[in-house]
Symmetry: none
Subunit: 151 residues, 2 copies
DNA sequence: GGAATAAAGTGGGTAAAAGTGGGTTTTTGT
DNA sequence: ACAAAAACCCACTTTTACCCACTTTATTCC
């Protein structure tokens, strides 16, 4: 399970050092083999252990081919899903298209999100986080599951 | 399983170098024998390992002949299906009709889509991708399978 | 508390691999 | 038989993956 926020720097070649606390876990879960794709709702990347991703890809592929919404999702998520591997120094290399999508420059933020990690531009994350906080205090419609949640 | 996005250049002869990550897979799956056809909804090409295509063609042929939509799909998909083979350098040659349909010039994008690959003009793909992202975030009617998808 | 040591993070050089561009030969179709 | 296109081959260029070394941060022990 991933959780917590880590500030990480992309280097000039687009490499990103995975925080130490996740490395052993990633080696155990998937031998350091990951899949990164885009989030369709936010300008950030989603990073999954490869086994975890395979399950999700299977679900997405099973959607009906002649449904336009399904095709859109397939193209966006599977189309951007990129295999990446931890190198000998515990770093991963992010392709330029992925970096561009999430507007990643040097300073980034890696968010633990249970089965996956999210990677954000630091600036963008700070702005969005403040917006999220503002939104919670002005809730429009919360799903029942949330209303009944006891923390 | 194909996934991910690759920027690939068509050369002056209409040849396209298949990215290394797919080559071994293609040799294993189908000895480098592929079938390319058009997508009926978008100006892009679909590229299948030949064995995979045979299954799909059988399904399409089995559609009811007196249904106009079925006949349309049959003519378009089966009618444009072209056998192509990997050459010694891992490249494939695309016929002019196919290139024209998908408006392919030099810069193209190859999208992994599970059992098949999709080939797009780079410009067209970038435009369509941005539209998809906008549409996904302004959902009219999403199928239930999509609404319940947990990523 | 501070020096010594270890661990993590960072930067960049290089060899190997992948991509690219044609020239030549063979096949195909008219 | 001829022209056009495809297949084949080879050489050059670019990119990537791998490796190593240095810097900075954290930890330990005196």
């Amino acid at each position: 399970m991933f959780r917590g926020l880590s500030a990480v720097n992309l280097d000039a070649k687009g490499r990103l050092a995975i925080p130490m606390k996740y490395r052993q876990l990633l080696v155990d879960l998937c031998a350091g083999r990951l899949v990164a794709t885009i989030d369709t709702e936010e300008r950030c990347l989603l990073i999954y252990p490869v086994d975890e991703w395979e399950v999700i890809q299977a679900k997405i592929e099973a959607l009906p081919s002649f449904n336009p919404s399904a095709r859109r999702i397939q193209r966006l998520l599977i189309g951007h899903a990129t295999d990446i591997e931890l190198d000998a120094n515990g770093r991963i290399l992010l392709s330029q298209p992925l970096r561009e999508y999430a507007q990643l420059e040097k300073e980034t933020v890696l968010l633990g999100q249970g089965k996956k990690l999210e990677l954000w531009s630091k600036d963008l994350w700070n702005r969005r986080r403040d917006e999220y906080i503002a939104e919670v205090n002005a809730p429009e419609v919360l799903p029942d599951e949330l209303l009944n949640l006891s923390l």
